[in-house]
């Protein structure tokens, strides 16, 4: 790990400005979840948009395009229960992931949850941020000719684009219109934990579906579940490009790798590149850094010591991963599980959650 996005002078300035006040635990909780849901909404919209485009090209069976999205969303069993093996039905998958009330992570539910959290911290957010999130929510419910459902039916790409733009606008407005204080730190902590999780899951699922052993540098397809291997170079490239697009990472990637798209390079980029703001390394380090503003390592008396230690440990572990990323699946699983445990610990230490003994014990990374 080489590059740190923020220097230490900046850190001291912030520490001064923070003052001793602290944030109401309930408010901090809503801040974190607001950040998580906002980031998740953007991520889901991005994945759907990239996949819609991928599925238009003829070479790939639709199931291979859409199935991974349902898996990344963690809704495979639920989808199967309701729609059987219809993973190739792009319309059905999209409707499920965008509008379904029973889909835990559907875009609409995610936006509604972001907005609901925003509403309960209305006094914390700037008016601009609130209005952006509220407008998105109102638009997605608007049954009129220019409302979300109509745009979804008539101009799918516009629909995803609008959702992404509004969430990106909200994320940007937080930087430019809000106090850079504890509340914002909690929001970004949520954003960065969610981003770590999204990138890791997305890569893991794609790797499982299309990948093979990255470490071996092989381009051969290794997928036990799929009938018929995908070994056509062009198609394979398209799939990995689509993954990069789903992470807004295509252009940054080609700048770094001079256009050579291989599974190993993509995995390496998405996990370890500290310059890319959606890489696991960057996101998790940013989460760690945010947390250090909230709970400086020097303030041993303040609550949050265990969370800080866990974040520091995971940050270091990721920074020291061998460049070849042997057993990528195990690495990504560890990252996903550990960020979940960190979320629980922060909840218990700072946000007033009930302790959850079964998951609170942290294995050494």
């Amino acid at each position: 790990m080489t590059q740190r996005p923020r220097n230490s002078t900046n850190f001291h300035l912030r520490a001064q400005r923070h003052g001793p006040a602290g944030l109401i635990s309930r408010v901090a909780d809503c801040c974190m979840w607001f950040g998580r849901y906002l980031e998740r909404a953007e991520s889901i919209a991005r994945q759907l948009q990239a996949t819609s485009s991928l599925a238009l090209d003829a070479e790939l069976p639709p199931t291979r395009c859409w199935h991974p999205l349902v898996v990344v969303a963690g809704e495979e069993a639920h989808f199967k229960e309701r729609f059987g093996e219809a993973f190739g039905d792009g319309e059905r998958v999209q409707h499920f992931l965008v509008w379904d009330d029973r889909c835990w992570v559907s875009l609409f539910r995610t936006v509604a949850a972001a907005r609901e959290n925003a509403r309960s911290i209305r006094e914390v957010l700037s008016g601009d941020v609130w209005e952006t999130v509220n407008e998105l929510y109102v638009w997605m419910q608007n049954e009129g000719p220019e409302g979300g459902p109509a745009v979804y039916r008539a101009r799918r790409d516009d629909f995803y684009r609008r959702v992404r733009q509004m969430t990106q606008l909200a994320l940007g407005l937080m930087r430019s219109t809000m106090l850079h204080d504890t509340a914002l730190d909690f929001i970004w902590l949520g954003v960065m934990l969610e981003r770590t999780n999204q990138t890791a899951r997305l890569l893991d699922v794609h790797h499982h579906a299309f990948g093979g052993e990255v470490g071996a540098g092989a381009t051969e397809v290794h997928d036990a579940t799929a009938p018929g291997a995908l070994n056509h170079q062009v198609v394979e490239t398209a799939v990995w490009v689509s993954l990069l697009r789903a992470c807004s990472g295509f252009e940054p990637f080609v700048k770094s790798f001079a256009g050579r798209v291989t599974p190993a390079a993509v995995a390496h980029f998405l996990v370890t590149d500290a310059r890319f703001p959606r890489s696991v390394t960057y996101s998790l380090h940013a989460a760690y850094e945010r947390f250090s503003y909230l709970r400086p390592p020097s303030d041993g008396d303040l609550p949050g010591g265990e969370s800080l230690a866990m974040l520091a440990r995971l940050d270091k572990w990721i920074a020291n991963l061998p460049p070849s990323l042997p057993d990528l699946h195990a690495i990504l699983t560890q990252i996903v599980d550990e960020t979940a445990r960190i979320g629980e610990t922060i909840g218990r230490e700072l946000l007033g959650y009930e302790p959850t003994p079964s998951v609170a014990s942290s294995p050494e990374g």
């Binding site: 602290g22 944030l23 109401i24 309930r26 609901e116 209005e131 007033g352």
Partner: protein, 490 residues
């Protein structure tokens, strides 16, 4: 005499009713003539467009109230009519002095009723009737509240009779709501009709949050210089949640829920990510009964256990003070003029509405004989609930109220139906402006130094033709209230 064109042409004024903007001759009242001419010059199309712009802005900003009966927790905008209600400088001067006088007397009454109760000893105000109010909390007697002011924030509902006389309809001395709409409506008026607004020379209302923060600071417990203030809300499912966030945001204080606070050693603390923080002043927007499960309702999930102990010990100021309900009880209302005379030695500046107290035998008999002419109100209900509009009621409704009054006379009062004044109001279905009945709720802040009246207020309008009920829960809407400044501007 100017004739009207456009929007206000052929304004169908209601006979026997005072109109706020248009005189009996059909011409605009002279003090508003200039801006009404500009308003009247708009075409229905232009006005409809402006109106939908305003509604979209309110929806996008989330200026909404929750509708309880809906399971999905739907929020609605409070219908807003862009035609302003205007008040002349001369009228406002009268209203302002009357409100200051009234709120001063009501504060003295509360100190007295929770103190020596001189009022009953030295006047004919009936002790049993006053102390029988549900809002009277005998356990609080002889507690001097921290900060010394019991009614810090009041909303007093005024109506205007056919002669244009302002009358107090009721007092709200516990948790009056609506002031956020006053400020937000004003933002829209200025954005959408800047030139008309400019022509009207209107006093500003956006100073309210600052004034409120100063007032709350001033009533901190003795010796606290830079108090920590919070707004306590029941949460986002409360119908007035938008207002709670509005107040917290605009004062820059924390918006808290009961669970965020705890009491230790009779002091109140806020749970933060950096440990407990002492709180000195709580602007609470929850009812007395839910404040403290140790003291009032044990099943309250909204309150803070031990809060009343902390208040009693003088370590925290509760705004408004608990127990104020005795002063805005509708059966106590008829005696407010007596209070003004007794505590201040002055004649009341503002008129009231004649009121029959059903607890008194002769008044009850009159009420029961004239139910079809009177408005009957339950003394402890608000929001237009628990009310009988005699002249419009069915026989069954009248029979039901007769039985209720006989069973529990203390709970009811009756008043003649006042022909509430009207104000020109945009009727979307008809795409025209028509008279609709309005009331006015001004807000009064009382610091340690005395009362201050916000120059403006919430004008509520009964949008339904022929209706007298302006409450938002019953099809009411709101208007911006333009109080004209004293003298011309340079």
């Amino acid at each position: 005499m100017k004739s009207l064109s456009g929007l206000l042409t052929d304004y169908p004024a209601l006979p026997g009713t005072f109109d706020e903007l248009i005189g009996t001759d059909g011409a605009p009242r002279p003090e508003f003539a200039e801006c009404l001419a500009m308003l009247g010059a708009l075409s229905p199309d232009e006005f409809a467009r402006a109106q939908s712009l305003a509604e979209l802005a309110l929806l996008n900003q989330g200026v909404t109230f929750s509708v309880y009966k809906d399971s999905r927790g739907t929020e609605k905008i409070f219908p807003f009519c862009l035609v302003p209600r205007m008040v002349s400088a001369r009228d406002w001067d009268h209203v302002q002095r009357g409100l200051e006088q009234r709120i001063t007397a009501l504060n003295l009454f509360l100190d007295d009723v929770y103190g020596d109760q001189r009022l009953f000893a030295e006047t004919k105000v009936p002790r049993d009737l006053v102390l029988g109010a549900q809002g009277y909390l005998p356990k609080l007697r002889h507690i001097r509240p921290a900060g010394g002011v019991r009614v810090v924030i009041a909303g007093i509902d005024l109506i205007r009779d056919p002669d244009g006389v302002y009358r107090v309809l009721e007092d709200n001395l516990r948790t009056p709501s609506g002031v956020s709409y006053v400020v937000e409506n004003r933002v829209l008026s200025k954005r959408i009709f800047p030139r008309i607004f400019d022509a009207a020379n209107v006093q500003r209302v956006d100073s309210y949050p600052t004034k409120l923060a100063e007032t709350l600071s001033s009533v901190a417990p003795d010796g606290i210089v830079d108090p920590n203030i919070v707004v306590l809300t029941p949460g986002q499912f409360n119908s007035a949640y938008f207002e709670h966030t509005f107040l917290a945001r605009n004062m820059g204080v924390d918006l808290v829920q009961g669970g965020d606070l705890f009491v230790d050693d009779d002091k109140v603390f806020l749970k933060t990510t950096r440990g407990p923080r002492r709180i000195h002043v709580i602007y609470r927007r929850i009812d007395d009964a839910f404040l403290d499960p140790e003291h009032f309702r044990p099943d309250s999930m909204l309150g803070v256990p031990g809060l009343m102990r902390a208040w009693r010990a003088g370590n925290v100021t509760l705004v408004n003070a608990p127990g104020n309900g005795v002063a805005d009880d509708k059966a106590v209302y008829p005696f407010v003029p007596d209070m003004i005379r007794f505590y201040l030695g002055e004649e009341p500046i503002l008129e009231q509405v004649p009121t029959y107290v059903c607890l008194r035998d002769n008044e009850r008999d009159y009420v029961l004989d004239h139910l079809d002419e009177l408005v009957v109100k339950a003394v402890d209900e608000a929001g237009g609930y628990g009310m009988l509009m005699g002249p419009q009621a069915s026989r069954a409704e009248i029979a039901e109220f007769r039985a209720r009054i006989i069973e529990n006379p203390r709970r009811y009062i009756a008043q003649p139906r006042v022909e509430l004044s009207t104000c020109p109001t945009w009727i979307p279905d008809k795409r025209q402006v028509a008279p609709r009945r309005v009331d006015l709720r001004p807000y009064i802040l009382t610091s340690r130094e005395g009362p201050w009246v916000l120059p403006g207020g919430l004008s509520r309008v009964a949008l339904v033709e022929g209706s007298y009920v302006v409450n938002s829960s019953q099809g009411g809407g709101s208007k911006d209230t333009w109080v004209q400044g004293n003298g011309g501007r340079p």
